[in-house]
């Protein structure tokens, strides 16, 4: 155990995803020894996102305003909603330039072992958006892994009764991975080749 502030920093870093006690200690000592201005900028960046960035009230994407720039953009096609797990997936899809509609960020995938059921995700909010007749197609772009597929199954079954077209990205995406690692070309093709998700 170190004293006061250093140990506090190690503890806080150790709570971040993917950082074990050893890495937390290494990062803490890096911060301690690094240039003061650099580290104050890091601290300010953290404070900045926590104070200014919130989640879009419509789609759940990160935004500095109540509505994100995509939901505010009148040139985006309001008839298609692409459902993704996380905000970083919005970026992955945007990079493909294959999609001109709007998004819905679920906040994760259904993963019962991790305590995440449908109620822990922004699924009710998605249904609310469908009350607006403008939406005619839902594209499910959850990760091409087990939890993402299960979430897709759940959504497709739920949306079946609503009368919108529900599609899933083409199976050309390699399974087992995360959407964010798919290259633009493959992901773009997966959009072009999307197929009905309703059995």
């Amino acid at each position: 155990m170190y004293e006061g502030a250093v140990q506090d920093l190690i503890d806080e870093l150790g709570r971040l995803p993917g950082i074990g006690p050893k890495s937390a200690q290494r990062l803490a000592f890096h911060i301690l020894e690094a240039d003061k201005d650099d580290m104050m900028r890091l601290a300010a960046a953290i404070t900045g996102v926590k104070e200014r960035v919130k989640f879009c009230q419509v789609c759940g994407n990160v935004s500095e305003q109540d509505m994100c720039s995509i939901c505010r953009d009148p040139r985006r096609d309001a008839s298609v909603i692409c459902v993704v797990e996380e905000s970083k997936d919005v970026l992955a899809v945007e990079r493909t330039r294959a999609f001109r509609g709007r998004y819905h960020v679920l906040g994760g995938a259904i993963n019962p072992i991790a305590g995440i059921g449908p109620d822990q995700l922004r699924i009710r909010e998605l249904l609310t958006r469908l009350n607006d007749d403008a939406v005619t197609e839902i594209i499910i772009a959850t990760n091409p892994n087990l939890e993402g597929e299960a979430t897709s199954t759940y959504l497709a079954r739920m949306l079946k009764t609503i009368g919108v077209t529900v599609t899933r990205l083409a199976s050309g995406l390699p399974v087992g991975g995360d959407l964010e690692y798919a290259d633009e070309v493959t992901l773009g093709r997966a959009f072009e080749g999307r197929r009905s998700a309703i059995s």
Binding site: I113, V175, G177, D178, Y181
Partner: protein
């Protein structure tokens, strides 16, 4: 020399994936239940990249022939050859998915410290996942049968005929998770539930794997049995299996 060291540090086993955690940029920690080495936590490097050579072979509910290497703190998966992929069929049906998750979480809890229970627990889980993926029985029944048999294998065999406490010949009608199943009027703690005779018969069938008796059961008895199995599991596992709460059960009917 290096080769000897690698051989000494590496071993092969069959394993079923219970769960995965993200690790760092693109790795995962994979929790396996193996046939011979009990529960193993191993790092799978780069598995979240869509170009990963592991592909979907290290996804939950997959059964693989594994090559594992002892690492500094965790094992490392060096090879995985698919033996059975139940995942695709399981995720195509949401109820099956929730059942598989509850079975995997239970297996993880039952094997956390007990490496001796390995081979039997491994067989039970793989058998249940296989049955689930081919739709052999109603998913909730597969789950409850698995839970009873996994608990019995762990040393907590319930009794659904003779009194679980005094052994007095059954049938009896009261249920006590704490006393180990069905109890006689003399042993019955105050306030114990008295399930329907059909429910008790269903529990006995699920424990012994008598599907000819279990399959035609009524939804109302299945639901009552599920509640008692969950109570029994929770009693012995000391805290609730979280994913049991998220299991999608068939409606109890009119």
């Amino acid at each position: 020399m290096a080769e000897t060291t690698f051989a000494a540090r590496s071993y092969r086993d069959d394993g079923v994936v219970l769960r995965t955690h993200r690790l760092g940029e693109a790795d995962r920690i994979v929790v396996f239940l193996t046939r011979r080495h009990g529960q193993v936590r191993a790092v799978a490097r780069g598995v979240r990249r869509t170009s990963s050579r592991f592909g979907a072979r290290l996804e939950p509910f997959m059964v693989a022939d594994l090559q594992l290497v002892h690492g500094r703190s965790l094992e490392v998966v060096s090879q995985a050859v698919a033996r059975a992929s139940y995942g695709a069929s399981i995720v195509s049906d949401y109820a099956r998915y929730t059942v598989a998750a509850a079975m995997a979480e239970t297996a993880e809890r039952l094997t956390a410290s007990d490496t001796d229970a390995g081979p039997a627990q491994y067989q039970l889980l793989v058998g249940a996942l296989a049955a689930l993926s081919r739709g052999a029985h109603e998913p909730g029944l597969i789950l409850d049968s698995y839970l009873l048999r996994a608990l019995a294998t762990a040393g907590w065999a319930p009794s659904f005929t003779d009194c679980a406490r005094c052994g007095g010949a059954g049938p009896h009608s009261a249920f006590s998770a704490a006393l180990g199943g069905i109890v006689c009027p003399g042993c019955r703690p105050p306030g114990s539930p008295a399930p329907a005779a059909e429910t008790v018969a269903l529990l006995a069938a699920l424990l012994s794997g008598d599907w000819a008796a279990a399959d035609p059961s009524e939804p109302v008895h299945r639901r009552e049995a599920a509640g008692l199995v969950a109570a029994y599991a929770q009693w012995h596992l000391e805290r609730a299996v979280g994913s049991l709460r998220l299991v999608e059960r068939e409606p109890a009917g009119p």
